[in-house]
Each structure stands twice: as structure tokens, then as C-alpha cells.
């Protein structure tokens, strides 16, 4: 029996490997994507194009503006002299932020009336807008403290001291790059498996396979092993690039990461084979794979936190294997996630793998429609 399965595995490997184009397609693009996305996928905001509209010629206003100029988060691109110009720079996106200091700024400051500084932000990119306002309010708070100290007035009774654990400089690359391990493993594994059965069904060789002495679970193993090997190899390369190229710290247990990766790939293979055996044509298979992959990425916490989703959708994410693996891979990289917590994430993936693989095996013979 094992000899039979070995032959089937060898055949499946050849099916992916013998075609030069398909060989290139599973190796080159994922690596390019990792590099490009590793640099592109960032929520960090820096060099915000800023325009200054200063109506006050006093020293205090200039000092406040100098703080914005000195910060790497802001880059002054133009100075305005009329209110109407604000629209002219914000509308065509020449500036994302306009800092407006009114005529009475210095007067108010000296008279101990709150001196207003107006910040106009482009809200088309809401996340960037929120971060810009955060940076600006910190600069204003610093300015206030300095001013109070310089004028011998009482400082606020309490101050915030903020630390950030696991990622002290809040680099979003440290968050995104481990996520890409999960993302690309999902895409590659899905593409390798989703077409295997559908391709054979389309040309009719799958029916031939079914009349051979192979039992469904043997076919299942034959179809899974190549995808598992490719997925693990691809995952390993991406982890290595994350560590050695992007310098993301790997603080946790590598063995646990691999146990997680193994179960994750199995779960994805199960879904991929299920989609493949339901489909009548390769086109349907690719579309089916897509209908799984896109929501799986969106509802995994890859780009936006699951905690921000409404409760019903949060429940839906429970059947998404990527959700669990993302926590494992990020936890292993950055937090050194304790083994006990990893176990809680392993069994859901194992259950998804069992159910989907069994479903795929059953579907080989009992395809709907």
C-alpha cells in the first residue's frame, strides 16, 4: 500500500514540478511579494506633507511650528498666506495637514487665555488622519509643558509615561512581516491544492484514478503530501527572510511554530482539496479558492484587528485557520508566546484540518451535482 502511495505522491509532485511556468509561479512571486509587501504594508506614518498657515509673527508661534518642523513625522511642503489656500492644498492632496495659527495666538498665550492652534486634516485616509492627530497632540502637549515650566507655572498634577512592550519603537513591519508568513503560506498551499482534483476531473483522469485500487484516503495522502512539503518549504524560507532580512526578532520556540505551521497547512490543504473536489472545472476551483482565501485574509486579523469587528463576524472568524496561526506566528516572533497558550490555538486548527480533510476524501466519490 505504501509503495502505491509513494508512486502517487511522486506523480503529484511531477504534476506541479514538470511544467516550468507553474514551477516558477510557486517560487518566484511569493518571494518578491514578501520583499515588496514587507516594505509596503506599513501603518507607520512619517513625512506627513504639511502646510503652515501662520498669521502670527510672534516668537511663540514660530517656536511651536519649529517643533513640527523638527519632528521626522512632519515635512513642511508649503506656507500659505490666505485661508482660501487651505482648500487648494488639501483637495488635490498636496498636503495632508494644515497647521493654522491665528492672529491672536501670542496675545492669548500671554493673557493666559487658551491660545488656539487649528489643525486641518485630510480625512480621506482615516487611519493616517488619526495617527497624524495623535502625533500633533503630543507635540502640543510637550510645548505646553515647556511653556508652563519656562513661565514658572504649575505643571499638570499627573503625566502619562507610556511604554510599549514587545515592539518598543512601534514598528508596524514587525507586525506585518510575520503575518505575511501566514498569508503567503495560505495562498501558495491553496493554489497548489485547489486545482489538483479539478484539473484531473476536467481531463477525466480523476475518474481513472477512482477505478484503480486506490482508496480515497490514499488519494488524499497522495494529494496532500506535495502541498504539505511545498507549504513547509515556502514557510521556512519566509521565516528565514523575516529574521535575517527584515530583522524581526524571533523570541519564541521554533518547534512550536513548526507544529503550528504543520497543522495550519493541513487545515488549508483540507479546504483546498474540498473546494477542488466540489468543482467541475478549474475555473470554478480557482474561484472557489478565492471565495475562501479573500474572506480568510480579511477576517484573520492580518491587517485589521478582530477585536474591532462586530460580535457576529467575530464568531465567524472561529472557523478560519489563519486566525489561529497568525496569533501563533506573531506571538512566537515578538512575544515569545508561552507553550500553554499555543496549545489553545493548536486544537482548533487540528479540528478544522480533520473535518476538511475528511470532507474532501468523502467528496472524491460523492461529488455534489
Amino acid at each position: 500500500m505504501w509503495g502505491r502511495i509513494r508512486a502517487l505522491i511522486a506523480k503529484e509532485f511531477l504534476a506541479v514540478w514538470k511544467d516550468k511556468k507553474s514551477r516558477v509561479v510557486i517560487i518566484v512571486p511569493p518571494l518578491i511579494q514578501l520583499l515588496v509587501f514587507g516594505y509596503a504594508a506599513t501603518f507607520d506614518v512619517n513625512h506627513v506633507a504639511t502646510a503652515i498657515y501662520n498669521e502670527d509673527s510672534g516668537l511663540a508661534a514660530r517656536e511651536l511650528i519649529a517643533r513640527f518642523e523638527g519632528s521626522p513625522s512632519f515635512e513642511i511642503v508649503s506656507r500659505l498666506s490666505r485661508e482660501a489656500e487651505i482648500r487648494d492644498v488639501i483637495d488635490p492632496k498636496d498636503a495632508s495637514l494644515v497647521i493654522h495659527v491665528g492672529q491672536t495666538f501670542a496675545q492669548d498665550l500671554m493673557a493666559r487665555r487658551p491660545a488656539k492652534v487649528q489643525l486641518i486634516v485630510d480625512g480621506r485616509e482615516s487611519n493616517t488622519a488619526l495617527i497624524i492627530l495623535g502625533y500633533a497632540s503630543r507635540i502640543v502637549a510637550d510645548f505646553n509643558n515647556e511653556w508652563l515650566r519656562a513661565h514658572g507655572e504649575a505643571l499638570p498634577p499627573a503625566r502619562l509615561v507610556v511604554w510599549s512592550w514587545f515592539n518598543p519603537n512601534l514598528e508596524s513591519r514587525w507586525f506585518i512581516v510575520p503575518g505575511i508568513v501566514a498569508l503567503l503560506t495560505l495562498v501558495v498551499t491553496m493554489v497548489v491544492t485547489a486545482l489538483t482534483v479539478a484539473r484531473e476531473r476536467e481531463v477525466g483522469t480523476f475518474e481513472q484514478l477512482l477505478v484503480t485500487p486506490f482508496r480515497p484516503f490514499e488519494i488524499l495522502i497522495g494529494k496532500s503530501v506535495p502541498a504539505l512539503v511545498i507549504g513547509l518549504a515556502e514557510g521556512t524560507v519566509i521565516v528565514a527572510i523575516a529574521v535575517f532580512w527584515f530583522g524581526v526578532p524571533l523570541r519564541g520556540d521554533l518547534l512550536l511554530l513548526y507544529v503550528g505551521l504543520f497543522l495550519y497547512i493541513l487545515a488549508v490543504i483540507g479546504v483546498g482539496l474540498m473546494v477542488s473536489s466540489i468543482s467541475r472545472t478549474q475555473q470554478q476551483a480557482i474561484l472557489g479558492a478565492f471565495l475562501f482565501v479573500v474572506p480568510a485574509i480579511i477576517l484573520s486579523g492580518f491587517a485589521t484587528p478582530i477585536a474591532n469587528m462586530p460580535p457576529l463576524i467575530q464568531d465567524l472568524t472561529l472557523i478560519n485557520p489563519m486566525r489561529y496561526f497568525l496569533v501563533i506566528v506573531r506571538g512566537t516572533f515578538l512575544e515569545g508566546l508561552p507553550a500553554v497558550l499555543v496549545y489553545d490555538l493548536l486544537w482548533p486548527m487540528a479540528s478544522i484540518a480533520t473535518v476538511s480533510l475528511a470532507g474532501a476524501g468523502w467528496m472524491f466519490r460523492h461529488r455534489l451535482g
Binding site: F43, R112, Q118, L119, I131, A303, G331
Partner: protein
């Protein structure tokens, strides 16, 4: 034959063509369009990618994807409770952004943070009440889980807000009015409530049209190459331009249908404002659809197998549209080299137009620049497809 070879591409309005060729050409084209349309109608997966997928994606994104953190779980450690500490705790509890839980000590709070049950820890030390009266003030220690740097930064911002509120309240309790030297007045234009939905949903239309235009088309045409029906078509009197046009028209209409559906859902289901001109939206979308279709056709012509075409379409069209288009990640914050790369991603121009048309209105400098880029790309991709398809016959 006096009719120019390209009349299939330019439509049948060529003055040089005789009535007869115009008539047969139009008939041939009609036949091809009919064949493609039937093919789409008979395969449920094509219809589903055009109408069901956009609806599902919009619902998932509209409801599921949000960058707005609310009710952030916070572990609050109060080492020795006093009136001052409880007034701070109240200000956290009253903030819509936090869901604070009081834990007994630092250690328990750290455990919660590691287990992911809390995203931040706030520690009020035992000397809090005493140090409030010292010149430097009392420190409020905040530890955020920095793994998700973006959320961490947003939590920091919210924390600053809660702290400011508490300072004002505290001053009032002491019978004073807090007068900060400088106050920041913020105006967020186009999206006053800073709803991330308003920013994400318009961009999503670009993703959906990329799926229909590039992925679906690439797969369909690759299947024809794989099965040899493309060669069969080529030995008929039908011209290459007509074959391509026959493919373009039905999928163009399918994609535009998906766009209209998405726009309607964006406005009526998700309440995203639409402030631009509908005609401009249609025009820019049509240009983008042509680019997507051009990419799809080109990929299938080069790949000639569904497996490779599907993979390539995902990699060169879908993933860049997701990550490099400004749909979710801000392009201006990317490294210079990556910013350069984004210029060859068609979705970039479309996403920028969509965000502006929906939220800001018809800002001509943006629309013109993006429209020109899309038009140029449409010409390049469709032209390349035309040449590639022609060559392969020789």
C-alpha cells in the same frame, strides 16, 4: 478587402470599410459577444464572481474591517485606592474607547497582557495621591502591547484624550478652571467622524473590479487556449481584433455591473457619502475596467494554462491592488522605492480617484492625472495583447 485590419478593434464606424464588410464584421462580432455572454450565463461561477462576490466582500469589509479601536480591554492596577485614583478610573470607564478591568497587581496585569486578554496596562502607583502635589506631578504608567503597532499607537492617542479629560475634571474638583497654554482644535475634512469604513469601502470597488477584469478574464481565456478552442477560433474568418473585442464586451459589462452594485451598496447600505459626479465615476471606472481586462487578456495569452494564469493574476493584479494601491496602507508612508513601484499598479490610480470622488467630490487635478495614467495603461495592455495574440499565429 478594402477595410482596414483594425476595424474590429475600432468598432465598425470606419469610413474606409465598405457597407458589406461593416455588415459582416458587425455580425461576426455580435456572434462572438453572444457566445461569450452565453458562456458567462451558463457557468454559475462567473455570475457569482460578478455579483455574489462583490456583495459578500462589501458586507465583510463594511462590517468586518475597521481600524477604529473601541472598548479596548485595559488592565487597571491601583496600588492604593484614594479619591484621586478613583476619579482617574472613572474617566477611563466613561471613555467609549476603553473597557477597563481592575486587577489586583502588576503581575496579574502582565499575565493578562501576554495572554491577549488586555491590550494595555495602566498602573497608578501607591504614591500617586502624594505625588500629585509634587512639582513634577505623579506618573501614570501605561504599558501597551506593541505587537500590533497601529492599534498601540491609536490606544496611546485615546489614553492621551482620557488623561486630558481627567486633568480638566481634576481642576474643576479643586475649584479651578484648567487653562492650557495652547489648545489644539482639530478639523478632519471629508470624514469628520474619522470612520475607517468611509475610507475602506470606496477602495474596495477597485479590488472587486480587479477580480472580475483580471482574474476572471485571465482564467476564461486561458481555458480557451488550454482546450485549443482559441486556435479553432483563429482559423475561422473572424479577425483577432474581433475575437478580443468579443471577449472584452461581455466582461466589461459584467465588471461595470459589479461596480454599480458596489457603489449602490456603499451609499445605501454603508452610508458612505458620495460627493462627486456620477458621470465621472462611470468614466474613470470604465477606464480602469479596460486596464483590468487588458491585463487579464495579456496574462492568459502569455500563460495559456489556467493554473499559471490564475496564479499570475492573483500575484500581479489582486495582491498589489490590495497592498500597493493605497486601499488600506498609505502610499506616502512607504519607502521611496516601493512608492515608485506603486506607479505601475493600475489600482493605485483608481483607488485614489474613488476615495476622492466619494469623500471629497470631483477634484479635477486628481481625476485628470489618474484618468490619464489609466488611459495610457489601457492602451499599453490592450496593444500588447493585440500584438502577442497576433504573433502566436505565425
Amino acid at each position: 478587402m478594402t477595410g482596414p485590419r483594425l476595424d474590429g478593434i475600432r468598432g465598425s464606424g470606419e469610413p474606409a470599410a465598405t457597407l458589406d464588410t461593416v455588415g459582416t464584421s458587425r455580425m461576426r462580432l455580435f456572434g462572438l459577444v453572444r457566445k461569450e455572454t452565453l458562456q458567462i450565463l451558463r457557468d454559475p461561477s462567473s455570475i457569482s464572481i460578478a455579483f455574489v462576490l462583490p456583495a459578500i466582500l462589501l458586507l465583510l469589509f463594511g462590517y468586518g474591517v475597521s481600524l477604529d479601536a473601541k472598548h479596548v480591554p485595559v488592565a487597571l492596577v491601583i496600588e492604593s485606592p484614594t479619591t484621586e485614583t478613583s476619579s482617574f478610573a472613572v474617566s477611563l470607564i466613561n471613555s467609549p474607547y476603553f473597557a477597563p478591568a481592575i486587577v489586583r497587581d502588576r503581575h496579574a496585569a502582565e499575565e493578562k497582557l501576554i495572554a491577549g486578554d488586555a491590550d494595555a496596562i495602566v498602573v497608578l502607583r501607591s504614591d500617586f495621591a502624594r505625588r500629585i502635589w509634587s512639582p513634577a506631578g505623579a506618573p501614570i504608567q501605561v504599558i501597551v502591547n506593541g505587537t500590533d503597532a497601529n492599534t498601540a499607537r491609536i490606544i496611546e492617542g485615546y489614553m492621551q484624550g482620557a488623561w486630558q479629560k481627567w486633568l480638566e475634571q481634576h481642576a474643576l474638583d479643586e475649584g479651578q478652571v484648567l487653562v492650557p497654554p495652547v489648545v489644539m482644535e482639530q478639523r478632519v475634512w471629508f470624514n469628520a467622524e474619522v470612520r475607517s469604513r468611509n475610507f475602506l469601502v470606496p477602495g474596495l470597488i477597485a479590488i472587486i473590479m480587479t477580480l472580475i477584469g483580471t482574474l476572471l478574464t485571465a482564467m476564461v481565456v486561458a481555458r480557451e487556449w488550454e482546450r485549443g478552442t482559441m486556435e479553432a477560433l483563429m482559423v475561422t474568418p473572424v479577425r483577432i481584433g474581433e475575437i478580443l473585442l468579443g471577449k472584452l464586451i461581455p466582461y466589461f459589462l459584467l465588471g461595470m455591473g459589479g461596480m454599480v452594485l458596489s457603489t449602490a451598496m456603499a451609499v445605501w447600505v454603508f452610508g458612505v457619502p458620495f460627493r462627486g459626479s456620477l458621470a465621472v465615476l462611470l468614466a474613470v471606472s470604465a477606464l480602469f475596467m479596460l486596464v483590468s481586462l487588458g491585463m487579464g487578456l495579456l496574462i492568459s495569452t502569455i500563460a495559456r494554462s489556467q493554473f499559471v494564469a490564475g496564479q499570475v493574476a492573483i500575484i500581479v493584479a489582486f495582491l498589489p491592488a490590495f497592498i500597493l494601491s493605497g486601499f488600506i496602507f498609505d502610499i506616502t508612508s512607504m519607502p521611496a522605492v516601493v512608492q515608485l513601484i506603486t506607479h505601475i499598479i493600475p489600482a493605485r490610480y483608481f483607488v485614489s480617484s474613488l476615495q476622492t470622488l466619494f469623500l471629497a467630490g470631483t477634484v479635477w487635478p486628481i481625476i485628470f492625472a489618474n484618468g490619464a495614467a489609466l488611459g495610457l495603461m489601457a492602451v499599453i495592455f490592450l496593444g500588447l495583447t493585440r500584438r502577442k495574440t497576433h504573433k502566436s499565429l505565425e
